[in-house]
Symmetry: C2
Subunit: 205 residues, 2 copies
């Protein structure tokens, strides 16, 4: 009896979790495809295959949908950082992370949010999961940046925070889409190009 009840609850919880995962996958894809403003809640509901009202039982607002997607990618990023081989140099780790980020974007799995929307910002900053993930990722990247600067592989005259922002910005770099639209290069070539301009610069060496 007790066991049965527990099992039933667990099963229901699993179903709930599975549905929310499905929602987040759809939101993630739509955010990557069209961005926050162009994505509509009707669209999300239709793609998940449930009614809009049901969606609002899971997430209280459109902003919270986007936040859930961001938490999802942040978790993926944290796993990626953790699984990086320990014997690579800080510079290589930074390059690997940026490459991974751009692969995500070119694969249509990187949600894009408007940086100006204030209600979205507020929702994101009120989301502890998101903020903790962001801080943990930033701390880890910050360590590697300073280590790379200390050992002379990254320009020590640049403030670490500026480098961190520059790395983050590759996740929404329009150069990726422009080059992809041009159709002259494969995804791998595009990523190598942008990696080169990012770390080596435009000037000849």
């Amino acid at each position: 009896m007790q066991t049965s009840a527990v099992t039933k609850i667990s099963f229901k919880t699993q179903m709930l979790q599975a549905r929310e995962d499905a929602i987040i996958r759809v939101v993630n894809r739509l955010l990557a495809e069209k961005g926050f403003d162009a994505m509509t809640v009707d669209e999300v509901a239709a793609n998940v295959g449930i009614a809009k009202a049901s969606l609002y039982k899971h997430f209280p607002s459109k902003e919270d949908l986007a936040a859930a997607a961001m938490v999802h990618v942040m978790r993926r990023a944290q796993r990626y950082l953790k699984d990086l081989p320990a014997n690579t140099s800080p510079l290589e780790k930074l390059r690997d992370v940026v490459r991974w980020t751009m692969e995500l974007k070119l694969a249509g799995e990187m949600p894009s949010l408007p940086s100006q929307n204030s209600s979205l910002r507020a929702t994101l900053m009120a989301n502890a999961d998101y903020m903790n993930g962001l801080i943990e990722v930033s701390d880890q990247l910050g360590e590697w940046i300073e280590a790379a600067q200390a050992q002379g592989s990254v320009n020590p005259h640049l403030p670490a925070i500026a480098i961190l922002y520059t790395l983050y910005a590759r996740a929404c770099d329009p150069v990726l889409e422009f080059l992809k639209m041009g159709g002259q290069h494969t995804d791998v070539e595009i990523i190598d190009l942008v990696l080169s301009t990012c770390f080596d610069g435009l000037n000849a060496r």
Copy 2:
């Protein structure tokens, strides 16, 4: 009689032009502050100090308002390119242009448009003034890029088109706003930082 009529027409035309200039100035500022989606036509009308219906007598749609602002900045860019001292190197010219672009952005005078909005894209691409300006600017920058590569100051292994896109992307680089929000640097310092990461790269030299 003839002279009087001509003068009157000219005067009316001048007034019309002055009002449209005022509209474009407002649109330009609002596009820089909030972006296309967040900017409302009501807001534009209120800031100009005219009724919304009057606005629609001058520009047939919100997209056309944005297009007019883009034509305006494109004209400014063309003037800037033309007025660059002839004796500077191609690399210096490119740096100067990027610097000017970022100054515009930090001054809140660089309109920001969503790259996904298709109706806006259509309006822009149907606008001959905008397209001609864009092509002329791109041709000029392309010349300088190839010249800089030929004389070994810019990495010759990068496709010129990738370099062009990378330069254009500085006009909407989020690193600028992030660093500005941090409050640790002056506008000049921020621009120097981003110029350095853009041309010299993150790696030590």
